[in-house]
């Protein structure tokens, strides 16, 4: 059962994300029926799932929420800012409900009850006018709708009792959807008319979920001396059938009264039509859901990992087969091997594309963030998203969320100016933030640009000097200065705001992005805006690396962290006392990997120093040989090596041997601390 619950939570989280996205779109176009339908459907699925897995609280909560959208769907309510705000809070609350198992928490209860109250108020507003409306709506919604025919011929002397028949009709009409036909054909000529007599009579078609007694109740005081006929026509909402209403109205105009018999005949026809329509709709809905299930399926990531393993194994085997075919020269073998080669390559490409998911979900979250922030900061902002269908490795997308959120917060908080300032500077009052994702070679570029104030390099420079981050006499290019914002301990916010000044700076953004082997760059033009560009690898499972060998074992160093490679003679390495080597005129600290890995010193006269970037410093790693560039399929080392994180994984070379992939940051950190 637990695994089912887990699955439910997973699925529910996805549904809630989807809901949020749809809601944001709905906010933009509140009258889009397709969107309303979509919101309703997602809620409905969520409700159904939670009921099935025993999440009763979520079930009842979504049920009420769903009711609102059902009413909107049926046109009894309009999408309003109020409703949307409540729905957004509800979405947050639903997320909390999924995370938090402790429903007894008093804070949680307050939020829950508060929201429930608000939702109920929307569903059942207290003022009378909307009550009638909602009564009407509940008729339409309820399954037990019936249509009645009512003929009301008041006694001529009805006015003498002080009764106004129109009031009775009003009351009758409040029971549900209605169509009233007034007949004046008994009205005498103007000369014969007696003003205090009632000549008019009415025929009413009423669709209601109340029973016939409720209708009788309306006429309770006049029933005895008036002519009253009440007849159930069908257990359907006949008034929803336009043809029927039209036919009856036409008859009512030409004839003095339509008469029960005629109406009944029309009613049977209409009821048949409605039933047919319903059946059609039902099958349509079923077809729609069927289509949906076929479009995508759910696969556990374990299976995908397995598939990836098999595919890489196949690729390795295929390489060996090709080599073998070349050597043996058996007639007819070459074309077969070539075919296998082609198929393997296609298979590999498809397998890799499976683990990529569109960045859409992530971007949806930011829509929400911008919406909330623009309310909080009172800044109107157009948030434009481009390239949401760009695909990235799932792990990268997960790790991208925080840094991107921070960048967007910064743009909202510091970048975009107040409307007044913007107008004074000749910009449109509404700010613009552009989030864009696109492919560039084997990487994905994500750009956040705003048309805000931009970053003034002079202020940055002055600030960096005052903080002692750079020497005051150093000449720096604009790019160098802008890059200073990525230094730890640098924050330009004038005051600590709720939005961005949380002690987390751009340095953390940079670190997080380099953790997923990405790069960040900033460009800015004072008064025009700032663009932050993130460059990411397509997937975490393939890396560009440098294959090196140490004591005849192969190792891979990620190319992204490598700065330069030097050949240095052995003497200058082994005679160095303070582990510093002079390369290109600068002294660089180095570590001999042979020594650090507790291996014997090598006999070679020349050693290779691979200089890597480590936290803004350059550090040399001494290896025996540099073999060359290598595209490595990264594989985990397994649970037993979990605490041993100086290697981020291993890769299998063409000849089947295993090469370890170094995490240079962690290796250097470990060596530095062990000194």
């Amino acid at each position: 059962m637990d695994s089912f619950r887990k699955k439910f939570i997973e699925e529910a989280a996805e549904l809630i994300d989807k809901l949020e996205v749809s809601l944001l779109e709905l906010e933009k176009s509140p009258n889009d029926e397709a969107l309303i339908q979509q919101v309703f459907r997602v809620m409905h699925t969520l409700k159904g799932n939670s009921a099935m897995f025993g999440f009763d609280l979520i079930d009842s909560f979504t049920h009420n929420l769903e009711t609102i959208y059902d009413m909107i769907r049926n046109g009894q309510l309009e999408v309003s800012k109020d409703i949307l705000n409540i729905t957004f809070s509800s979405v947050d609350h639903l997320k909390a409900m999924l995370d938090e198992q402790n429903y007894e928490d008093p804070d949680f209860k307050t939020v829950h009850n508060g929201l429930m109250g608000k939702i109920n108020r929307i569903i059942n507003p207290s003022n009378a006018e909307t009550e009638a409306e909602s009564a009407k709506s509940s008729n339409e919604k309820s399954e037990s709708l019936s249509t009645y025919y009512i003929l009301f011929e008041p006694n001529e002397n009805i006015f003498k009792n002080g009764t106004n028949p129109l009031y009775l009709l009003d009351e009758l009409c409040s029971l549900g959807e209605h169509k009233v036909f007034a007949h004046f054909n008994r009205l005498p000529g103007i000369k014969e008319i007696t003003p205090n007599l009632c000549y008019t009579y009415w025929e009413v078609l009423l669709t209601t979920d109340q029973d016939v007694n409720a209708i009788h109740d309306v006429f309770i005081f006049v029933e005895s001396d008036s002519k009253l006929e009440i007849q159930k026509l069908a257990e359907e909402n006949l008034l929803a059938d336009k043809l029927f209403v039209e036919e009856v109205s036409q008859l009512a105009e030409v004839q003095k009264d339509v008469g029960l018999v005629t109406i009944q005949r029309l009613a049977t026809k209409a009821a048949a039509r409605i039933n047919k329509e319903k059946a059609k709709q039902f099958t349509k809905e079923r077809i729609a859901t069927k289509d949906k299930t076929a479009a995508s399926i759910r696969v556990s990531s374990d299976k995908l990992d397995h598939l990836m393993n098999l595919v890489s194994e196949l690729v390795t085997t295929q390489a060996r087969l090709s080599l073998f075919a070349e050597q043996t020269n058996v007639p007819g073998l070459a074309p077969i091997v070539e075919n296998v080669h082609k198929l393997t390559r296609q298979l590999r490409d498809i397998a890799f594309s499976i683990v990529l998911i569109p960045i859409e979900n992530l971007f949806g979250r930011f829509q929400r963030l911008v919406r909330d922030l623009s309310a909080e900061l009172h800044k109107e902002v157009d948030f434009i998203v481009e390239g949401a269908d760009t695909e990235l490795d799932k792990t990268i997308i997960e790790n991208l969320s925080d840094p991107l959120m921070h960048i967007i917060r910064n743009s909202m908080d510091h970048g975009i100016e107040d409307a007044r300032v913007r107008i004074a500077n000749g910009k449109p009052a509404k700010g613009k933030i552009h989030l864009k994702a696109f492919y560039s070679g084997a990487s994905v570029i994500i750009q956040v640009s705003d048309d805000g104030a931009g970053i003034d390099p002079e202020i940055i420079h002055a600030k960096a000097i005052s903080k002692g981050l750079v020497p005051s006499d150093k000449k720096m290019s604009k790019k160098e200065i802008l890059d200073l914002i990525f230094l730890p301990g640098f924050s330009t916010a004038k005051k600590v705001t709720d939005v961005s000044g949380r002690g987390v700076g751009m340095d953390v953004v940079k670190k997080k992005i380099s953790d997923i082997r990405g790069e960040v760059e900033v460009e800015s033009e004072v008064g025009k805006g700032t663009t932050i560009t993130i460059k990411l690898p397509l997937t975490l499972s393939i890396i560009d690396g440098l294959l090196v060998s140490i004591d005849s074992s192969p190792f891979v160093i990620p190319l992204s962290s490598i700065d330069k490679i030097y050949a240095v003679d052995k003497e200058s390495i082994y005679s160095s006392f303070n582990n510093l080597v002079t390369l290109d005129g600068t002294q660089i600290p180095f570590f001999s990997l042979r020594k650090e890995f507790n291996l014997q010193p090598s006999n070679e006269e020349l050693e290779q120093v691979v200089v890597v970037n480590f936290e803004d410093n350059r550090v040399g790693l001494v290896v025996d040989y540099v073999i060359g560039e290598y595209q490595a399929v990264l594989k985990p080392l397994g649970k037993h090596y979990k605490s041993h994180d100086i290697f981020s994984g291993a890769t299998i070379l063409g000849d089947g041997t295993v090469a370890l992939v170094m995490d240079t940051n962690k290796i250097i950190k470990m060596f530095a601390t062990s000194k």
């Binding site: 194994e313 080392l637 397994g638 994984g649 041997t657 295993v658 090469a659």
Partner: protein, 171 residues
């Protein structure tokens, strides 16, 4: 294979470390490999011998002797890697265990498995399922999940006792 089926199978793979004969339930054993070159992982604990390429996946290999607190020996032609499917907190983890030699697959009935004598036992009880007497030999049946899921080096030998080493006599 579900648990019920597993319990019904009475087959055990036996292997030797020195003169001592051990057994592991066959449901835990995925594969037996000949000794292959192992890629060492620098800076890792001694008993973690390194990793090998198991049909495209990277498999960590553990020297069972070191793990069991026995002295290391040279690898011989008989040295094998048993690929085990270990259950670590409900997750299936594959690991290779280097043993001196693999013996046979034996049918051992549950009734043949005796609990370890509490007194004078050399082994810690949490790692041992029991002992079986087959053809006048005593075979120690191991709890592979418990032995290989622990991160630190675990001596399955009770610290008060010591394992009688007969490896040299065998060779």
């Amino acid at each position: 294979m579900d648990t019920e089926n597993k319990n019904q199978i009475k087959s055990y793979l036996t292997f030797k470390l020195g003169n001592e004969e051990f057994a592991a339930h066959v449901s835990k054993v995925l594969n037996i490999l000949e000794m292959t070159p192992i890629t060492k992982v620098p800076k890792a604990p001694d008993y973690l011998k390194g990793v090998i390429n198991l049909r495209g996946a990277v498999l960590p290999v553990i020297d069972t002797r070191i793990k069991f607190g026995m002295p290391e020996t040279e690898y011989t032609n008989n040295t094998c890697i048993i690929v085990l499917d270990i259950d670590v907190d409900g997750e299936s983890v594959h690991v290779g265990a280097i043993v001196d030699s693999v013996q046979a697959v034996l049918e051992i009935d549950n009734s043949q498995i005796m609990p370890l004598p509490t007194l004078g036992s050399r082994y810690k009880s949490e790692f041992i399922i029991g002992m079986a007497k087959v053809e006048e030999r005593f075979i120690i049946i191991l709890n592979m999940d418990a032995i290989f899921s622990v991160d630190e080096i675990t001596s399955i030998v009770d610290s008060n006792q010591s394992v009688a080493e007969g490896t040299d006599a065998q060779q």
